[in-house]
Amino acid sequence: MSPKTLYDKIWDAHLAHEAEDGTALLYIDRHLVHEVTSPQAFEGLRMANRPVHAPDKTIAVPDHNVPTTEDRVNGIDNEESRIQVDALDKNAKDFGIHYYPVSDVRQGIVHIVGPEQGWTLPGMTVVCGDSHTATHGAFGALAHGIGTSEVEHVLATQTLIQKKSKNMKVEITGKLRPGVTAKDITLSVIGETGTAGGTGYVIEYCGEAIRDLSMEGRMTVCNMAIEGGARAGLIAPDDVTYDYVKGRPHAPKGAQWEAALTWWKTLYSDDDAHWDKVITIKGEDIAPVVTWGTSPEDVLPITASVPAPEDFKGGKVDAAKRALDYMGLTPGQALSEIEIDTVFIGSCTNGRIEDLRAAAAILKGKKIKDGMRAMVVPGSGLVRAQAEEEGLADIFKEAGFEWRMAGCSMCLAMNPDQLSEGERCASTSNRNFEGRQGFKGRTHLVSPAMAAAAAVTGHLTDVREMM
């Protein structure tokens, strides 16, 4: 048998049909659904009088535009958001799919709920009408975002029409230095490859620094594979993965667990497998980073200065000019001197328990800067409950943070949590696009520890100075 990558193995195990030209029908093991990209898909099913093919493999949760204030139990004020959430309530019921409504403690961001409930398992194919589905690749699952037409296609057929991507290996060797986190790894990779560097590829992240990460950290890394342009990011499963999965509500049990484990242990890239592209970064070369511009590739170590447009080539010169203008920054300015109005800790990138622990470790016994708006939005109701149990919530509240209910919140600002014009935010989310966190809002992407540090000092800060 010819040697295979992990991606090849998962792909081959899910081929329901393959045409001569390589167009494949890929079978989908888990389909995750949220309120923003699914209403038109369910409407399409109704119009064609089609059922959901595999309701048992379909899981829905509202997250993108739910309010994150505690009074949300009384209903959603914004009419359009309410219509979308109501539509999901109804569609979940009418089509008989698994559902975690806003009132359920297990509700949260779809990419946090899936793994937490054991829906995401190694070797699976997982899709969702959301680009950050890449998150689930941390389990060694082939996971990627799809559009609404494809959501409808998966609902109706449990398959996806696909062409195979190429294989790319991103290896992070050695150990990380203190203060450097999974977020810094994933941003640094994008800084290296650019936002289109992964286009056409599925990335497998490997190397000692990746192996050393917890599942939470691995999810952070894979989450942003999409910002690097890749179809999906993958990390081969190992004991860290199995320990995380074991005992979760929908994970296999007993003899099935043993059978699953036997298969999972075959899920790695063979030594002599073929890679179409390889990138190697030394773990020790990665610093805590921040973004300065309006693309996730605009990333630099916190010790650097704002670049000048002339530092770039081609179309990027104009893009950098536009970005600096939008961000209100001057070339040469030290990144660590940029003053911040708002701090957002949350999202499917950094809304898990470990992220909250990292931020709380910096905040313990400190206060946020006067006038700072700071917010923690746990990724799920269960993360929130655990953080309360561990005393993290008290640390955040005493420091001056708002302690919110679970959802996407200010990651994309579809709910009331938004930046106002010109407001500058240190954010643990994944996108710094123009207007992403509110019209004319300015976003600097950072790790949770860096976000906490900025909340205390009032400017972007090298977290290593506070450790």
């Binding site: 195990a13 081929l15 329901a16 049909h17 030209d21 167009t23 029908l25 079978y27 923003v36 990209t37 209403p39 038109q40 409407e43 064609a48 535009n65 359009e80 979308q84 539509a87 398992l121 699976m124 009408g129 680009s131 589905t133 990627h144 975002g145 799809i146 559009g147 609404t148 037409s149 494809e150 409808e152 296609h153 109706a156 057929t157 398959t159 029409i161 936002t195 289109a196 286009t199 056409g200 342009g229 890749a230 296999p252 099935q256 667990w257 059978a259 699953a260 298969w263 693309s295 179309g315 104009d318 893009a319 600002a413 579809m414 996108r431 696009f433 123009e434 207007g435 992403r436 019209f439």
Partner: protein, 201 residues
């Protein structure tokens, strides 16, 4: 789905790189549960002032580009989210073809599902078409999907590649779900085998 065969229309130049889905359709407009009506908010934040008045400098607000059906764009067009509202907004506005050196993966796929043809070309061809597009309504492009060519105003012709299956679906206006349901027997067989091999799924 509407068929795409041959298109002759005005091309609007948008040389900016990394035009993302938040620029194409900001999320405040994602709250509809319909597929139509997004065209008026296409490129909303680049196209309108806060008071709703048009920004005259924005390309699609200029008289010669108001009826553009083609966009010639900078690298990595459509990066960002999976929102199909982006192609829905382009379509609703009247854009049927986007030409660039590269597209984000999900956006690229989403275009085909909505009768929009995304064309990937080498930098020098995009540069040439960008020049043509800069000449406004005097310079229409003709995109011929059957023969995979783009004809510029000066008569030159540029060839492009497209996946054969995607091309077929676009030309015939085929519905993917019908095509797949025709292979239901394969799906059923796969499911039966997978239930044996991986019963925990």
């Amino acid at each position: 789905m509407e068929k795409f065969q041959k298109l002759t229309g005005t091309a609007a130049p948008m040389p900016l790189v990394n035009i993302d889905t938040d620029m194409i359709i900001p999320k405040v407009f994602l709250k509809s549960i319909q597929r139509t009506g997004f065209g008026k908010n296409l490129f909303d934040e680049m196209r309108y002032n806060r008071d709703g008045s048009e920004i005259p400098d924005f390309v699609l607000n200029k008289p010669q580009y108001r009826n553009a059906e083609i966009i010639v764009a900078g690298d990595n067009f459509g990066c960002g989210s999976s929102r199909e509202h982006a192609p829905w907004a382009l379509k609703d506005f009247g854009i049927k073809c986007v030409i660039s050196t590269s597209f984000a993966d999900i956006f690229y796929n989403n275009c085909f599902k909505n009768g929009i043809l995304p064309i990937v070309l080498p930098q020098e061809d995009v540069d040439k078409l960008m020049d043509d597009a800069n000449r406004g309504a005097n310079a229409t492009l003709t995109v011929d999907l059957e023969n995979q060519t783009i004809q510029g105003p000066d008569g030159g012709s540029i060839a492009f590649e497209v996946d054969a299956f995607k091309k077929h679906c676009l030309i015939e206006g085929l519905d993917d779900i019908d095509l797949t349901l025709a292979k239901k027997a394969s799906i059923d067989t796969f499911e039966a085998e997978a239930a044996q091999a991986r019963p925990w799924v």
